[in-house]
Point group: C2
């Protein structure tokens, strides 16, 4: 039995691009687009929308910007099979004038990523997107570090907003199923009438399991990526998610095919997935930035020392 | 808060040896032994006990046999830190006379692996081990394929036996948390007074998550391996499990250290972990043997065809 309300969003190019600065060829992105639409995925998140005055095209690939021209060049006249297109925006990295009215855009949805402490800015940007005609979400990041009182305040602000879809985001891959359960129950109680989603990271090999837990609790907006590609330890693998969901509209075969054609080879060049440095930051509920530095360096330092330094921190008194 | 009844068993050498025919150097096994004891792990399963008339020493390393001499050569006079030693036995691959009385052995526990259909033989062998003085378990394998009526009968037989510890084993890595929950509840109901354990495989990146679920339901005997090393997709990673358990007696630092020294290098030679062929057999609840063949071959076949063939099977009428 399946739950028809569940909508799957693939964010391979957006979250995976965080590893390689969105340096994907047009052919690569087009093949991903075609495979996802054939598989019956509900949304493809094709990148970030960012303003070029904040970021350089020399350093970043097209999917850091997602202009209308970039996207149209990829999707051409291919059959979308009802798949919608999404882009993510970050507070302070996009100007309102760079978001065109929906009627002039091939995008269907804009997802606003923000931290609890900047929830007012996030809601403000989301309201602009809603006014321009987009389906709009707020993805509240890194909540595993947010004090409950501050989280409650952010949720209270969200409850009064026009934003109808809110994601629980485990940015550090630090949560166990019990935290997912607790937080989603809190979100549901605080946000009556809104849809909830989940975006998980795989530092503790729990991205898929936590996604299942969120589905059990009632989340209907589900993020995944091909072969789990994503920043650091990566995300919930789309191939596992589609196998779990019983909706007959999903076809896993194009997903297996594109993973074999593009992602297994890519993983020998671009590193993501479970590694001990990511596991250490995940279990300690820390930002993965130090683990990413280790993984990017040629010489791996002593990981026991890395662990001890993170545990010890600097004594404050 | 921790549950002091939880006992962690590391079966790296036993289950990992299924990949490389137990071709580990003495130094390797000794370093594993020392790291596990320093980390506070409760049991080290050092291999299989098998009779040499069934298997050749030319093809298989020492840990397929686990003679007293083999084990004593490794553990020497090192401080065990109260860690107990275990070996696994398979029905029909060991003769009773090869299991010495406990008083003449350095082993503390013998685990009997058997299928539901051979439960009578399994209980018979387990009773011999109990009579010889060993702590003894039965690990009921591959239950994701067993019809409920047959499973109930096997559990009924077990309930009347003297075996006090029974493991739920997800041999195919096919279970979701809901199956773990359902089956463990069934085991608890059918086996009053017995301790239950969990042994999970990682085909769907759920070995650790399913282990957590089993702990939540009440399992106290928990299997894991260093860096998840084990047959096919591997097992629940010990480093994740110890980070999750809050018992202050566990020290994860020697585990991080030995993974960096031995297991990260080993994984470049000996392949285990999440791969699409294992994912396919796991999601389809099939034995991983065909996936293992694919992974062992140099040329990966078309994985979409591999999936389609497993799904289609051979129509029977």
């Amino acid at each position: 039995m399946f739950r028809p309300q569940i909508k799957v969003l693939d964010c391979t190019v957006r979250d995976g691009g965080l590893i390689n600065k969105w340096q994907f060829s047009d052919e690569f992105v087009r093949k991903v687009f075609i495979a996802l639409s054939q598989a019956g995925v509900d949304y493809m998140e094709i990148g970030y929308k960012s303003s070029e005055k904040y970021f350089s095209r020399d350093e970043n690939g097209d999917w850091k910007f997602c202009t209308e021209e970039d996207i149209k060049r990829i999707i051409g006249d291919f059959d979308r099979n009802n798949m919608k297109l999404s882009a993510m925006v970050d507070i302070g990295r996009i100007d309102a004038e760079d978001i065109h009215p929906k009627k002039d855009s091939v995008l269907d949805m804009i997802r606003v990523a923000c931290y609890a402490k900047e929830i007012d800015k996030g809601i403000n940007l989301a309201h602009q997107c809603i006014d321009k005609g987009y389906e709009t979400t707020i993805n509240l990041m890194a909540v595993s570090k947010v004090l409950e009182r501050d989280l409650d305040e952010a949720l209270d602000d969200l409850s009064k907003s026009s934003v109808s879809i809110v994601y629980l985001v485990d940015s550090f891959g630090a949560m166990y199923s019990e935290q997912i359960h607790f937080l989603l129950k809190k979100y549901f109680a605080a946000l009556p009438g809104k849809e909830l989603g989940i975006h998980a990271h795989n530092n503790q090999q729990l991205a898929f399991a936590n996604t299942i837990e969120a589905i059990i609790v009632g989340a209907n907006r589900i993020d995944a990526t091909l072969y789990g590609m994503g920043r650091g330890a990566g995300n919930c693998p789309l191939e596992l998610l589609l196998s779990f969901l019983k909706n007959p509209k999903f076809d896993i075969r194009p997903i297996i095919q594109i993973i074999q054609e593009l992602f297994i080879p890519l993983k020998t060049d671009v590193e993501w997935g479970y590694h001990i440095p990511y596991m250490i930051t995940g279990t300690l509920n820390e930002h993965p930035r130090n683990a990413m530095k280790i993984m990017a360096s040629k010489n791996m330092p002593d990981l026991k020392v890395f662990y001890e330094e993170l545990v010890d921190g600097t004594p404050l008194d």
